[in-house]
Amino acid sequence: MSIRSGTDRLNALLSSAHEQLGVVVYDTLMGQGGPPELRDPDRALGQLLAAAHRHIGAAVTKRIAQHGDGVRASELAPDSSTSGQMPVGDMLMQRPAAVRLKYRNQALRLTQVYWQQNSESLILEARHRVQELIANLEEETLPSSSLSSLERVSAHLGSVPELPKRQTPLPVVAFDYLEAVEDHLFTHAARLAHEAQTSRRLLNTELLPYLCEPETSWLGALEISQDLADDLYLAHREAAMLSRAVTAVRRASSNFCGADLRSADLNSAQLQGIEWDAATAWPTEWEERIRRASQATREDQTVLVVGIEPQGINVSADT
């Protein structure tokens, strides 16, 4: 063998190894289904976004389907609004039970912030006093007690709280449960505060000074009083709406009849005052404790209300 043939032999060996390795790599890749898909960063991002969009859509559709019966039932209910939209209070009840339970404390605290006193009865009393005044003015009399009575009305209207500062930031769309709760309360509280202030301004700056003037026109006084009565009617209506909103939030925070709470975290939730029934599904480890801590409500024997906090119950091993 010559030097030339040694080099040729090496070249032949290298060439053969190179070629065979190429065939093996190709066959192995094809055996795996071909080269992996080209990973274009833009396309990969697009695919990720499309997949996320698709999954979210599927999840939303599934959840809507789960609540479909409840939604249809509330749409058919006689007290639902004529526009066909679900009342906000019912919408709160439609939120998942585990979410309502998780944010129960905060939601109830919000009701205390927005409903510090019974504004509805205060404004109702103010309306009665103004109606009495109107009856007297129609008979062209003004008893001496009327002015002090109106001053009390002014004090009542002044006690209607001004709009509290929002506890949660103003949402664009209230997807978050607590934001939805506060949005619900805030809307009515804002209207009530506005109507109460308008009524009080009319009373303090126009009606009371006018009645105190030496020469008062009965007709003029009657007109201002009628305006005040109209304003108070609006304020009373808003107070009633706020009261209903507060009731709806309390109901969403306490009514867990038929709710599935198996996946809920009860360790951090305040359970006292929760209403439930035989259809409520509790986590297995909690069911017995909650059953022991509950008693039937007076109105409905099938509904139970959780009494003392179940966490506090320590059952002795001896009993």
Partner: protein, 190 residues
């Protein structure tokens, strides 16, 4: 950026002829299926494992798709970028590679263990992989058909150094394969 068009290989026609720079995204689509196996083989001959070669090859094509990339010599570009990507893999921390994605892989990682190859070819590759890294790289470029100049530009060394590495690699392989001894014997017999 390292792989800018200006740093592209100015080769003179051996494997790739100079063409008007094309957008990387278009090239990647055109070349992906055809060039991917060759790229994996190139990396295997450089000493990469099967999984490392696949990762680096895929990474090279991904980098090719980057906006603003224009390439005149795509085959050389791919090998150079894939080779660097593989080198970067070597210095990664262990924990970063803890979660290896589940991908189908052959039962071998090094071609030395690929039973599909002939015994002789496996032996040659085994010897090739024991060469110093620069000699291995010079041989891998050469076997893929690139000229000395192309290899030198891609490896960032002078053409003379490539030639020297190639000569040393071949001499070592000859010696290990017993081809030199046969030559001596032949001369002695004359």
């Amino acid at each position: 950026m390292e792989e800018t068009p200006s740093a592209d290989l100015p080769v003179s026609g051996a494997l790739e002829t100079a063409v008007v720079p094309r957008r990387g995204r278009e090239l990647a689509e055109d070349l992906h299926h055809a060039e991917y196996p060759g790229l994996v083989r190139f990396l295997l001959l450089n000493g990469a494992s099967w999984n490392e070669a696949q990762d680096a090859a895929q990474d090279a094509f991904t980098q090719m798709c980057r906006p603003g990339t224009a390439i005149s010599y795509p085959k050389a570009w791919l090998r150079r970028v894939a080779w660097r990507s593989w080198l970067r893999q070597q210095v990664r921390h262990e924990d970063l590679c803890a979660d290896v994605p589940h991908t189908p892989a052959p039962h071998w990682q090094s071609p030395v263990h690929a039973m599909e190859l002939g015994v002789e070819e496996r032996h040659v590759i085994d010897l090739l992989l024991t060469l110093p890294s620069k000699q291995r790289a010079a041989l891998a470029w050469c076997l893929d058909g690139f000229t000395t100049q192309e290899s030198a530009d891609a490896m960032g060394i002078k053409p003379e150094a490539v030639r020297q590495n190639l000569a040393r690699a071949r001499a070592t392989l000859k010696a290990q394969l017993g081809l030199e001894e046969t030559d001596k014997t032949t001369r002695e017999n004359r």
